[in-house]
Subunit: 241 residues, 2 copies
DNA sequence: TAGATTGTTAATCGATTAACAATC
DNA sequence: TAGATTGTTAATCGATTAACAATC
């Protein structure tokens, strides 16, 4: 397995999910380094900053081709831009938000998305009181107009911040009208065809993970306090429901 | 390695992160099954519902002890409650929110958290115009009062929805005043001592992951269209910066 | 050239899946 | 009892780390 230098690129396939999840973080750190006016960085310096191994950084980046140079390291701006391209941040991504509640508004108002090419085209809600109000320069439309809007406008991404009860059916409307991707904040797993990309943000699950770690940590402290006496507890084998 | 039946519980250690991340999802599905009035379920039925392998379900659950019964499966309510305990949802978790912007408000207003024991004690912001306004029954206080508040109240979790520029210093105030955990929505990695639990929600990174998958998928389609002609491209070896 | 640092292979570690004996 | 299904071990698969030759 030597000498696959020339190919190695067009593939664009088979990159592991774990690697992809790390790219935005590299991108963030590189952006900060650029702002600091730095020009180049070695994998080992970056690894120290990011608290990952240098090996992982080199391995990750090499999934996409050789971005560095022996004896020099990585050019920060070049790498930043390349990762941006890999992430599709060099393209415009027309986007709509479903749900004009606090979460929908928070996302609409976040300017960072715009800066990265995520362009907000519309906001939809079912509450007639919100019709026509302006959020981040975009007027709220009634959810009934969604299908027509999708037919008339090229929309790639729909942000789903509706309550669980509505989210499922609305996802169907999105799919039926050719949506490409759904950024799902509703507490359910969407059932969509495989050509529709779904990225879930399940906030309550994130908070539960935090809660677990909190609990876990507390128990560890208690165990240290107890020192011995770890007998007793748990004898409930053989229960029948 | 036979017969470690009696112990197997007090440990509470060494559970892999991947398993923990899956627990909230099990919890959610079990809750829904309960609402549907179901009493028991086998790992293979659950695996079909959740699109994971039955083996993984059994393996995951057995990290915490034997919750099932041969020939019967798992009692849904029992398992639901046990996972709840593992996640620490049987305990109250006093919580404050830093930042009364849209995101802070969205989280404050979400009733699901309360239901799971996450009790909102305070909301803090630096904008004097917001002082005293009431969000979900809690008055917004000035950020200057934070340290004193933490001294006078038992607060476990701080939700950080401040802009990046402020988040770092405020995290330090939290740590200095004994916070146990931070749910971090700011776009930076917090530098806190190891006894403070941090759970990050980096929304922009999530959106970039979506963007990657979108891009990726599009390219796959194009490749199909092209069929052949995959020569050319990429010859940029040997560049010097 | 000598030194630095990548790209890349090999070794290790961890997580998932398969299989089946134990047991309800 | 026979059938179902777990708990658990072993096999596989994938991801991370270590090491070093290639090369700028």
């Amino acid at each position: 397995m030597e000498g696959h230098k020339g190919d190695g690129f067009v593939e664009g396939k088979g990159i592991s999910k774990a690697v992809i999840k790390r790219l935005p973080r590299y991108y963030r750190y590189l952006g900060e380094l650029m702002e600091d006016g730095m020009e180049r960085i070695s994998s080992s310096d970056l690894s120290e900053k990011m608290h990952v191994t240098a090996s992982q950084i080199r391995q990750d980046l090499n999934n996409f081709g050789g971005f560095g140079q022996q004896g020099y390291g990585y050019n920060i701006q070049f790498l930043y831009e390349e990762i941006g391209k890999i992430l599709g941040l060099d393209k415009q991504h027309p986007m709509i938000i479903l749900g004009a509640g606090n979460l929908g508004r928070a996302l609409a108002n976040y300017t960072g998305f715009e800066k990265r090419g995520f362009k907000l085209l519309g906001i939809f809600d079912s509450n007639p009181q919100l019709e026509g109000i302006c959020i981040h320069g975009v007027q709220v439309q009634m959810i009934g107009q969604l299908a027509a809007f999708l037919q008339e406008n090229r929309v790639e991404i729909a942000v789903l911040t509706l309550p669980k009860s509505r989210a499922g059916e609305m996802a169907q409307v999105l799919v039926d009208n050719g949506i490409k991707a759904i950024w799902n904040f509703a507490h359910l797993d969407l059932d969509v065809p495989p050509h529709v990309i779904v990225e879930n943000v399940h906030l309550s699950e994130s908070l539960m993970t935090l809660s677990y770690n909190l609990n876990e940590h507390q128990q560890k402290l208690e165990q240290k306090t107890d020192a011995k006496g770890s007998e007793s507890e748990h004898a409930s084998k053989g229960k029948i429901f």
